[in-house]
Amino acid sequence: MLDKTAGHNRPGFNGPGYDYDYLIQDDRVHQSIYTDPAIFTAEMTHIFGAVWVYLAHESQIPKNDDFITTKLGLRPIIVLRDSDGVIRALYNRCTHRGTTLCRLEKGSAHIFRCPYHGWTFNNTGKLRNVPWPDGYASDFKDSKFNVAQVPRVESYRGFIFGTLNMDAPSLDDYLGPVKGPIDEWLDRHPGGKIAYCEANRLMYRGNWKLAYDNSCDGYHVVFSHRSLLDMENRLVNEADKGMSFYKGRPDSAPMYMKYFGHGHHFKDKRPNMEIKPGAMWAIEGPHPGMEHYEAELRRRFSARADEALDLAASEPVNINVFPNLSILGNHIQVIEPLNHYETNTIWYGTAVVDDEGVWGDALPLINALRMRTQEGFPNFGEVDDLANFEEIQRGLAAFEDEWVYMHRGMDIPGRISGDADGVITAPATDEMFMREYIKEWKRLMQTEPNIQIKREP
């Protein structure tokens, strides 16, 4: 049968704008949301300019005057703790001629001196000094010369978010029920805290949404990660290591996914395992030093050793905060769009911190193990997903074949359930979360955000 809507008659492209109701349908999306540079440009305003975007973790800027540089969408940003301890997100852009003020990835500074003509700014963003001001007739007390900043910056338990949209809800309301899994993830650590360590940094040639589409996808695991599963189980008789619980009949396994609204979703694989200390450690595949450190922890902390080992083990959850944050295992993954077909994914490792001394001299042993368990997935798992994302991007160049499907689990009675508060639950292998978040994406693309920037008075 001929598909008469393909090619030049595509109704989504009639008229001046895009018809997002056509591009995003109940069971499928149009390939152009991944391939069209104009849609990417619009996303930088309608998505990254409109919602709370994850910017940094407080452990990256522990002291006053500490800063890191990052991006909000494509906007270069300095996230810092100013000299009074206030967390700010300054535009990394000199108010004179627009050059970036700071070219380092991290550091400590109470002032930023522009390398180009030497204008100097306090780390509140306020202009402090202009060389040879007599050459200017203007009033440098005018706030327009202070560095622009993200008007709303808030933290949730160490995670720093910012939004440019004055009409966005509070961060608390934006996160809503996804705070539950974030709390649980943090609270398994002593004092409910973690610290960033270094990162496994990966780039792929594909649209950023391909990573977000994957972040709760339980359908791909045994296929895309087959080499990892085979590898992790090569030395055991019964394959039970890593994500082996996806084998067999994963649709009816006790694990599940939830959609929380605002584009956030959650996959919980913990119900697949027994609730007892050591259960998470028991399914870890082989890692460097694991036998030594396990023996050492058992010798020195016999009764609590299983609990310590679980801190080194990967937590079997995926917590996805739209549009750019995924807490996966022990990683904090940040999705950084570069353009419509290139994306960075940064897998920050996390370390256990122990301010109260709960673990005493077990802490270095736990972290020595935890660093190695975290290197496994980016090295042997994620690379294969990224290869598949790149091949999607390549496949979508066949642009007359317009549709990308996400209808797994749809229209099957009794499979998907909704709560009164709007939370939706489905099997971990369904594409429910993709359909729900992309509906939110569509709503945002059809809504004009109230974008403003702030300057010190």
Binding site: E105, C197, E198, A199, N200, R201, L202, M203, Y204, R205, S224, R226, S227, L228, D230, M231, E232, R234, L235, P286, H287, P288, G289, M290, E291, H292, Y293, A295, E296, E336, N344, T345, I346, G349, A351, P364, N367, A368, M371, R372, Q374, E375, N379, F380, V383, D384, L386, A387, N388, E390, E391
Partner: protein, 197 residues
């Protein structure tokens, strides 16, 4: 040999412990010193030949042969920072022990490692080889610059960097006990780092 030698390092990992981390960090600190440089051209050429042999085995996808260049208890370390850091407190691009190196080869051989399907073709250039003495007569440190030209997916890219080797003379030959791979872009986002670098 260490007391842990009773364990098969292809199966279990007892030798990756604090002593090993301390030893590796110390070995890769302040080792590139002119006063320790080996001048003897015969010895230098012997190490140069070992590095060229390694590059050839990797280029020809003879990974099982490549594994044999290493000591039984070995380390393959690609730091994610320019300074290397302490791998107990920060993640690296890779920090492999013998078993994980064998895992790496096993995975590439499964036929399901999509990041290497099709396989990359590589040509490795190894250059600027310098050999340094240590305080142990049977241990040498070797530094070399490398450039990996990797063809995959219709284009050739370049992965430059330098590598540090800790060679130990044992079992009648010089074995690699630790290999530190310092990619020029170690702290940047890297596309498809799935070959042995």
């Amino acid at each position: 040999m260490s007391a842990t030698a009773m364990h098969d390092p292809s199966k279990t990992s007892y030798y990756v412990n604090d002593d090993l981390y301390d030893e590796i960090i110390a070995a890769f600190t302040n080792w590139q010193r002119d006063d320790l440089a080996v001048i003897d051209p015969v010895e230098r050429d012997m190490f140069r030949r070992l590095l060229e042999q390694e590059a050839r085995l990797l280029d020809k996808d003879q990974l099982e042969e490549w594994l044999k260049l290493f000591a039984a208890e070995c380390v393959y370390w690609a730091p994610a920072t320019v300074t290397g850091g302490d791998p107990r407190r920060e993640v690296a691009i890779s920090f492999d022990d013998r078993r994980r190196m064998e895992d790496r080869v096993y995975r590439l051989r499964t036929g399901f490692a999509w990041s290497q399907k099709p396989k990359s073709r590589t040509v490795r250039m190894v250059s600027n080889v310098e050999v340094f003495r240590t305080d142990k007569p049977n241990v040498r440190m070797v530094r070399a610059s490398f450039q990996i030209c990797e063809f995959r997916g219709f284009e050739t890219r370049s992965l430059p960097g330098w590598a540090g080797y800790r060679y130990v003379e044992q079992n009648g030959r010089w074995e690699i006990q630790a290999r530190q791979v310092n990619l020029l872009e170690c702290d940047q986002c890297i596309r498809n780092p799935s070959i042995v670098i």
